[in-house]
């Protein structure tokens, strides 16, 4: 599968992940799902991939309601063993499940496979985007009602 021109920078970022396993994961799992995600999507809402130090950063926009939010999801060097970190760039009101730097509390950031809800065998970076969408949908409701619409995880 050839990569669209927009993804050419990603080719130079392959070395960001140290291991062959990590590189293989990018080429066989993450890049194909990003391509699928971007198919038929308005350019404003497509995922853009950039290099940031030792990480890969996905930049994108989500619009669960009437508001458009800019986000970035960081795939750290130990990804996918360590879950991706997602933060909202668009300023938010302080709310539940929002960590420092507007990082979303999704699956215990920095946790290990043993104690995380993140499963690298089943999930991809697109799952992180979908989880962020659901978080923002909750935020839009909380913004008006003051109540987070989903219960705490057990």
């Amino acid at each position: 599968m050839s990569l669209p021109t927009a993804y050419c920078p990603l080719r130079t970022a392959m070395g960001l992940l140290d291991s062959e396993t990590g590189k293989r994961r990018l080429l066989t799992v993450e890049i194909p799902v990003i391509e699928r995600y971007n198919e038929g999507r308005h350019p404003e809402f497509q995922v853009r991939v950039a290099r940031a130090g030792g990480s890969l950063v996905l930049r994108y926009a989500l619009k669960p309601g009437h508001n458009v939010y800019q986000l970035e999801t960081r795939l750290v060097s130990s990804y996918p063993l360590v879950p991706p970190e997602t933060r909202v760039i668009t300023p938010l009101k302080h709310c539940p499940h929002l960590l420092e730097g507007q990082t979303l509390c999704l699956w215990r950031q920095g946790s290990t496979r043993a104690n995380s809800r993140w499963d690298p065998a089943r999930f991809t970076c697109i799952f992180a985007i979908q989880a962020a969408w659901r978080w923002l949908a909750c935020y839009e409701i909380w913004h008006e009602t003051g109540e987070w619409p989903l219960p705490e995880a057990k």
């Binding site: 799902v33 699928r36 995600y37 038929g40 999507r41 308005h42 404003e44 809402f45 926009a61 989500l62 619009k63 669960p64 309601g65 009437h66 508001n67 939010y69 668009t90 300023p91 539940p96 499940h97 509390c105 999704l106 699956w107 215990r108 809800r117 993140w118 499963d119 999930f123 697109i126 799952f127 979908q130 989880a131 969408w133 659901r134 978080w135 949908a137 909750c138 839009e140 409701i141 913004h143 008006e144 009602t145 987070w148 619409p149 989903l150 219960p151 705490e152 995880a153």
Partner: protein, 60 residues
């Protein structure tokens, strides 16, 4: 950001959808073009799963 809230009907629809997703594993459907909420479903075909939120975990 100049926040534009959901109206009461939109908000209730979204709450129902989110809880159905959490409690009954119903699928949340995102518009392919702009990711806006378009409804729920029991199942989605594989080719549409990229725009459907089903078994996506979360901490909250």
């Amino acid at each position: 950001m100049d926040f534009r809230p959901l109206n009461a009907t939109e908000r209730q629809n979204l709450i129902t959808a989110l809880r159905g997703n959490a409690d009954q594993n119903r699928v949340l459907l995102m518009d392919r073009r702009d990711t806006s909420f378009v409804g729920t479903a029991d199942e989605v075909p594989d080719e549409e799963v990229i725009n459907a939120i089903k078994s996506v975990p979360c901490h909250y």
